[in-house]
Each structure stands twice: as structure tokens, then as C-alpha cells.
């Protein structure tokens, strides 16, 4: 290890060699299991990055409950990084993290400070988050609080991971509720969270987008995300795009799950994403094992290796997704001022309005549907800066049965392909 290494440089180097980095969501409560899992991920065929996914007690800030669960020997659904002493985490990572195997912390907390302190103390540099995306979908933390917490979180990460180390932060904004959010809004949120991170001192980012219902629309979205990032992020900021394999209701059959995973790997390569967070065939039923994670990584890496990368310059088209995402970002940033304040204003006024999101700070006046061609569309735009949905030929409102069909549409399609 000579040159200073970073999560982003590792991904860039893999991309230069034509490889897509594949990464699991994986977390275990004990250092022994966690280390064993990371060893297996590191040894998997393909360019892999490691993950410490944090348990949900630590996520909600209930460190007492995480400690009690460890003391009782109860199984946790992730690694309690703020409860194990830093020396224990360092030891578990010793000989695992390296220039060719970075490890990222994924957690989902709207109160990230203890997690950021713990990961920095353990020698880690890379994590995931977002003032909107780690707040609105899952809980009741007020958006104002989450914005403040994440502003401080970014600054803390920058401070606690000093040069020659490089703090890295990934936006979760390209996922939100996992399904049924039209891509223009996902792309806009990812870009806005990236701008927020940059404003608070983070110089190396990844911008996420989660696979949705239609491969063509998804490819437009990833390209739109790359174009907007290039247009809007300060030139000093290094960034890449990370794709998430479908985050909604997952196919129930192994064959269906594998096909969806392979489709996401092909989408990543064709659209110019440089990293893929995979899902396993076990996902529909329970928390996957290490072996299931490794299997998913290797299937994704193999599918990616067989896919042609995009021709240069194809991200410049004014696609529908790009225009919509640009309208959102423009409306939010128009008033000037800090990005965090602009985000709060935009949600308060319903300019950004995540469909089906029940958080008290989300306006809740937008609705979406899957159209007959399989693309995600708005059926109600509320106060968002979009043309109102045309009355003629408009897609009908979602009913309860319609919603059920929509959330299962991808699973059904991949389960039932002959």
C-alpha cells in the first residue's frame, strides 16, 4: 500500500480496468461472524467491496438495547459498531481492509453521530446516508432535525478522517421507499444530497439510484444522474454512480431472483454506473447467509463481465428523466442559500413530494403508477414543479388492488418468465 487509497479511487481503478465493483448488504452482530463474512466477500470472484451493515437498535440510537442484546448473546440484524469497542472493530478488520478491499458502513440512521465516530475510530472512511433519504422513508425524526444531524455528521466525518485518508459518503436518495417513486425524483434527491454532502466538506461521493420497473427508463435515470452530477457538483469533488439491485418486493423463486439480479448488473454496466449493491435470492424470505451473499456477488459480477460498456457521450441526451430531475433540482436550488435549508423549504411547500411516503414532513399529495409499457409515471403531481398530469388518456388512480399489483409487478414478472 503506497499511494493513499480511498473508496472512490478503488472504484475508479476497477472501472478503468473494465470491472464493475459489486458489494453486498451484510451485517452480523459478532466480530467473529462479521470477519468471516468479509473474508468470504473479499475472496469472491469479481471486484468486491465489503460492507458492515449496522443493526437496527444502533440505527435508531438505542445503544442501550444494542448493548443489552450483545450481553444476552441475542442475535442482532447487523453489526453494533457503536457498542463494540473500536479496538474490537479494528481487530476484526485487521488484514481484511486493504487498497484492494475497502469496507463501507451502511446504516440508515437519521442520528448518525455515534456511528460516524465509531467507524472513524475503527479506521474506516466510507459510509452512506442523507438528510432526506435516511429520514423520510422509515421513521418520525423531523426533517429539520435530520438535516442538522447530517450537516454535523458530514463535518464530523471530514474532521475525524483527516488526510491522507479520504472520507467517502454515498447518498441513499436514489432509493427512498424502494419502489413506485418515479425516477426523476430519485435522481433529483440523489443529486441534492450529493450537493449537501459537498457543501458540508465531503470531497468524495457516490450517488445512488435503485433499479425500478423498466430497464430503458432506468438507463435514462442513471445517465441523467451522471449528467446532473457533472453539471452541478463542484469540480474538486470526486464521484461515481452506484446502482442498487431492485429494492422493492423481491421475486420469490431463486430463478426469478437471479434474473432480476443479472438484469441489474447489465443495467449498471450499460448505463455507466461503477458499483452495484446486490440482493440475494433469500431476500424475499429472511436475512441472507454469507454463502447466499457470495453467490449473489458472483452472479452479478459474471453478468457484468458479459455486458458491453456504453458508447462514450450517450449520457448527454435530454431524456424525460433528465428534464424532470433538472426541474426538481432547479426549483429547490432557485432560492439560493444552503442546500439543507432549500431541501426543507422544498418539502414544506410540496415541491418535492415522495409518493406514498407517510412522514409528517412529506406533503403526501403526489401519486404514481406503473403505466401499460412498464414505466413509472406520476398520476398526481401535487405542488411539484411538473406539468399537471394530462386529463386525456391519463393513467387511472391507483386502487388498493392496483397498489398490491404494482408493488408485486417486478417480482411477478421475473418469477414468471419462462
Amino acid at each position: 500500500m503506497s499511494a493513499p487509497q480511498s473508496f472512490g479511487r478503488f472504484v475508479a481503478r476497477a472501472a478503468a480496468g473494465g470491472g464493475l465493483v459489486v458489494q453486498p448488504r451484510m451485517g452480523f452482530g459478532t466480530p467473529r461472524l462479521m470477519r468471516a463474512g468479509l473474508e468470504r466477500v473479499r475472496a469472491a470472484a469479481g471486484s468486491t467491496a465489503g460492507t458492515l451493515t449496522i443493526d437496527s437498535y444502533t440505527r435508531v440510537g438505542d445503544l442501550a438495547a444494542a448493548g443489552a442484546a450483545l450481553a444476552e448473546g441475542a442475535a442482532l440484524n447487523g453489526y453494533p459498531i457503536a457498542t463494540h469497542p473500536p479496538a474490537v472493530t479494528r481487530e476484526l478488520l485487521d488484514g481484511i481492509t486493504a487498497a484492494d478491499f475497502p469496507v463501507q458502513v451502511r446504516h440508515g440512521s437519521s442520528r448518525p453521530e455515534p456511528i460516524i465516530r465509531a467507524l472513524a475510530a475503527a479506521g474506516l472512511d466510507a459510509t452512506e446516508g442523507g438528510p432526506v433519504s435516511y429520514c423520510l422513508p422509515y421513521g418520525r425524526t423531523p426533517l429539520r432535525e435530520s438535516v442538522d444531524n447530517w450537516a454535523r455528521g458530514c463535518e464530523l466525518l471530514a474532521e475525524l478522517v483527516p488526510a491522507p485518508r479520504t472520507p467517502h459518503l454515498e447518498t441513499f436518495g436514489g432509493c427512498m421507499l424502494g419502489q413506485l417513486c418515479p425516477p426523476g425524483l430519485l435522481v433529483a434527491l440523489s443529486v441534492l444530497e450529493g450537493l449537501f454532502f459537498a457543501e458540508h466538506g465531503i470531497g468524495e461521493l457516490s450517488l445512488s439510484y435503485a433499479q425500478q420497473t423498466d430497464a430503458g427508463q432506468d438507463a435514462e435515470a442513471v445517465r441523467a444522474l451522471r449528467r446532473l452530477a457533472a453539471e452541478l457538483l463542484p469540480p474538486r469533488v470526486e464521484w461515481h454512480v452506484v446502482l442498487y439491485t431492485y429494492m422493492g418486493v423481491y421475486p420469490g423463486t431463486r430463478a426469478g431472483a437471479d434474473r432480476l439480479l443479472e438484469a441489474s448488473a447489465r443495467l449498471a454496466v450499460r448505463s455507466g454506473a461503477r458499483r452495484l449493491i446486490v440482493k440475494t435470492a433469500a431476500e424475499a424470505h429472511r436475512i441472507p447467509t454469507v454463502a447466499e451473499n457470495v453467490r449473489a456477488l458472483e452472479i452479478a459480477a459474471a453478468a457484468a463481465a458479459l455486458t458491453e460498456p456504453p458508447a462514450a457521450g450517450d449520457e448527454s441526451a435530454d431524456s424525460e428523466v433528465y428534464l424532470e430531475a433538472r426541474a426538481f433540482v432547479g426549483a429547490v436550488l432557485d432560492g439560493g442559500g444552503p442546500v439543507g435549508t432549500a431541501l426543507r423549504t422544498a418539502f414544506a411547500r410540496g415541491w418535492l413530494d415522495v409518493p406514498y411516503c407517510l412522514h409528517p414532513d412529506n406533503a403526501g399529495r403526489s401519486r404514481s403508477v406503473i403505466d401499460p409499457t412498464g414505466r413509472l409515471r406520476w398520476s398526481r403531481t401535487g405542488s411539484m414543479p411538473l406539468a399537471p398530469v394530462r386529463r386525456s388518456g391519463r393513467v387511472p388512480e391507483l386502487t388498493a388492488d392496483g397498489l398490491l399489483a404494482a408493488v408485486h409487478a417486478v417480482a411477478r414478472r421475473y418469477d414468471h418468465v419462462a
Binding site: 422513508p137 422509515y138 421513521g139 418520525r140 421507499l177 406514498y356 411516503c357 407517510l358 412522514h359 409528517p360 391507483l398 386502487t399 388498493a400 397498489l403 398490491l404 408493488v407
Partner: protein, 152 residues
């Protein structure tokens, strides 16, 4: 396909430890189509928040949904708070979802919920039972009879 308005309000809510929301979004549409106005409290609703929302919105029925495996425990706590805590209320309460971690119905746990003041306990995905509860004569009225939903 929607039924005519009943003029009644249903409060749909998650439980304190449950961050899932798609179940609540679905239930809102389902209950609205049966002619009710819905107030949806969303996920991670504490017992006190639920009690306060009942005081403010004065719903005709509370529908608690839980899918994270803590439903028996969290639901018992919520209905106990509602029936016995400050500002105690007799608004009918039903609960359903994946209530236990084992993925199977526990008659003992369901009996505890009924004894604590739940008006019905529905199995996961037993929407016919919920529909029947909501469409029978005087559904949601404060005179609702105690009734163990399950297979009905």
C-alpha cells in the same frame, strides 16, 4: 368500485417499533374504498402519540397494522395505553398483520389482545375478515362487539 361514503373516520397506524409503511399505504386505500375517511399516522407510532391522535381526530375505528414481528407485544402495549391510560378511550380497535416473529398465529397472544380491549385480531393478509368487519351493519360504531377475527 368504491362504496358510498359512510361519513365515518378510520385511523390507520403502525406500531412503536415498526418502520414499515407499504402495509399502511395499502390499508389506507383499502379502507377508503369501503367508504371511510382515513387518517394515516404512518410508522413508529408510540402509544402516547396514538392516544393523542385518537383524542384529536376522534376516529370511529382504529386499525393497527404490524409486520415486523413485534405486533403482539407492541399492539398489547398500544391498546392497553388507549384503554387504561390518561384520557382513556373506548374507540373500537382492531389489529392485524404479521404479529409474531414465527409467522404463525398465536391464539394465546391474540386472546391477550382481546382481553386488553382489542375488538378483533386479524391474521396476516386476512383482508376478507377486515372487509367484513368494516361493512357489516353499524361497522366501526362504538357499539362494536368483541369478536375474534382470524378465520371468522
Amino acid at each position: 368500485m368504491s362504496l358510498p361514503p359512510t361519513g365515518q373516520t378510520v385511523l390507520v397506524t403502525g406500531t412503536a417499533s415498526d418502520s414499515h409503511t407499504w402495509n399502511l399505504v395499502y390499508l389506507q386505500l383499502f379502507v377508503e374504498e369501503l367508504g371511510y375517511r382515513v387518517v394515516n399516522l404512518g410508522p413508529c407510532v408510540t402509544d402516547d402519540l396514538l392516544a393523542e391522535a385518537c383524542r384529536v381526530h376522534r376516529p370511529d375505528l382504529v386499525v393497527i397494522s404490524s409486520v415486523n414481528g413485534h405486533g403482539y407485544r407492541d399492539g398489547l402495549s398500544a391498546v392497553t395505553r388507549l384503554r387504561r391510560g390518561p384520557g382513556r378511550s373506548d374507540i373500537p380497535v382492531v389489529i392485524g398483520g404479521k404479529l409474531g416473529v414465527l409467522g404463525e398465529r398465536s391464539p394465546e397472544a391474540a386472546a391477550r389482545l382481546l382481553a386488553a380491549g382489542c375488538d378483533a385480531v386479524f391474521d396476516d393478509a386476512d383482508l376478507d375478515a377486515l372487509r367484513e368487519f368494516l361493512t357489516r351493519p353499524a361497522a366501526g360504531a362504538r357499539t362494536a362487539h368483541r369478536h375474534a377475527g382470524s378465520t371468522v
